[in-house]
Amino acid sequence: MPDRPLVDWAWIGDHLDDIASRTVQHLAIAGMAVAAGFVLAFVLALAIRRWPRLDGPIVGVSGILYTIPSLALFAALVPVTGVSLLTAEIPLTIYTLLIYIRNIVAGFRAVPADTLEAADAMGFTSGRRLQEIELPLALPLIIAGVRLASVSTIGLVVVAALIGDNYGGLGFFIRDGINTFFPTKVYVGAVMSVALALVVDALLVGLERRATPWARARATRAVA
């Protein structure tokens, strides 16, 4: 092993296609979990908004699920759902729940009580108040939740490589690199997955700016 250099650039040059397709796979696997988790968490957060007493149980259960180590959860599903996409997606989705629910609920709570009362006094129905007042005001925290969930999921996909070659995206290179004592592959997998997380995070920051123009306006006014 030591006679080979740590990074074999020629190998990387020869395998650009492979790296690109693994990157796409990585994004797809993470994207599905980030989207499914969002839908699930949003419904649960709406339930908490409607019935605040559900807050404790829902956050508690998702907190306990969040504590289960990722390798353990992936492994635990292998006998149940086999080596399949589902075995990768179920844990990834579960891990997003706590992050999402916390942030969405915190977003709703951050809406000032005066604003809610004013909306009620103006005759807003509950649904319209949610859509036109609460959601826009909660948006920065909700998007912060999407950012955290995306970064963490992109990192976790790497672990899914341990259950099967087709479900780990760039993690495949890491696992294969370790098994074959070929560091270049390890570095390609690790560096690319970190880069992917940072790029997605930066894109979401851009989205947040565009989605909340009033926050920018306020910031400029404060400076002036």
């Binding site: 092993m1 030591p2 740590l6 907190g63 306990i64 969040y66 504590t67 289960i68 180590p69 990722s70 390798l71 353990a72 959860l73 492994a75 635990a76 292998v78 006998p79 149940v80 706590l98 992050i99 916390r102 942030n103 915190a106 951050a110 920065p140 925290l141 912060a144 939740g145 950012r147 955290l148 970064v151 992109i154 990192g155 976790l156 790497v158 672990v159 341990l162 259950i163 993690g171 890491i174 696992r175 690199g177 370790i178 560091p183 390890v186 570095y187 997998g189 690790a190 560096v191 997955s193 970190v194 997380a197 940072l198 995070d201 920051v205």
Partner: protein, 248 residues
């Protein structure tokens, strides 16, 4: 259900409680590696976090570095350390150094960010009052800021410790001991009872860590802070803003 009972049966079998691959040995390995990483991470991250919080210097840099650190998956960090450490030490470089190193790196960001956030949240009027009373900077830090920041700072240690205990499992991928062995060997041998027993043990240890540190956290919270009784203190101001910390 069969799997669950199978796993419980596996756990109850006295043969699995002895020897090199026995539960006590694996548990001990797991706890020692986790604890060593957390202790080293505390020794590095806590003073830095407190100092940054007190002086306000390098806060931007530190928080952003911590966020980048968080984006590095532990498995990736482990994998990246491994080729280098193997070249340095053939004996420990294959599994022990990468796991220990990655776990320490994993634990540093939450500990540092929470220590920093805890100090930042201390009412500035209190600090000014202390300064007006003639307290030295070190006294302000030691007698005012640290006690008030402690619940939040321990919240960071708790997040870190739970993550480390959970993630040390991955060391088994590189051939290290610890409870992860049951998962990796269980998959490799298609011995699903062993696998699920491992899952139960690892999840149990992680949850136990969470509960144990929560209790310490409650005991270390000064009575004055508990009396405020509004919302749980560890969450105060730690709602993630722009990718910040979730205190868990």
């Amino acid at each position: 259900m069969d799997l669950l009972f199978g796993a419980l049966g596996w756990l109850a079998d006295p043969a699995h409680w002895a020897g090199q691959d026995g539960i006590p040995t694996r548990l001990f390995e797991h706890v020692v590696i986790s604890a060593a990483s957390i202790v080293v991470a505390i020794a590095i991250a806590l003073p830095i976090g407190l100092w940054i919080g007190h002086t306000g210097r390098f806060a931007f840099l530190a928080v952003n570095l911590a966020n980048v650190g968080r984006a590095i998956p532990s498995y990736g960090a482990m994998a990246m350390i491994w080729p280098v450490s193997l070249a340095i030490s053939p004996e420990y470089g294959l599994s022990l150094i990468p796991t220990f190193g990655a776990m320490t790196l994993l634990a540093i960001p939450p500990i540092m960010v929470n220590a920093f956030a805890g100090i930042r949240e201390v009412d500035r009027d209190l600090v000014e009052a202390a300064r007006g009373m003639g307290m030295r900077e070190r006294q302000i830090l030691g007698r005012i800021e640290v006690p008030l920041a402690l619940p939040v700072a321990i919240g960071g240690i708790r997040t870190a410790a739970v993550q480390v205990v959970a993630t040390t499992t991955l060391g088994a991928v590189l051939g290290l001991g610890g409870l992860g062995r049951y998962l990796i060997d269980g998959i490799a041998r298609r011995d699903f009872e062993r696998l699920w027993a491992g899952v139960i043990l690892v999840a149990g240890l992680a949850i136990l860590t969470e509960v144990a540190i929560a209790l310490i956290q409650r005991r270390m919270t000064s009575r004055g802070l508990k009396l405020r009784g509004d919302r749980p203190i560890r969450e105060a101001g730690l709602v993630p803003r722009g990718g910040g910390e979730i205190a868990a």
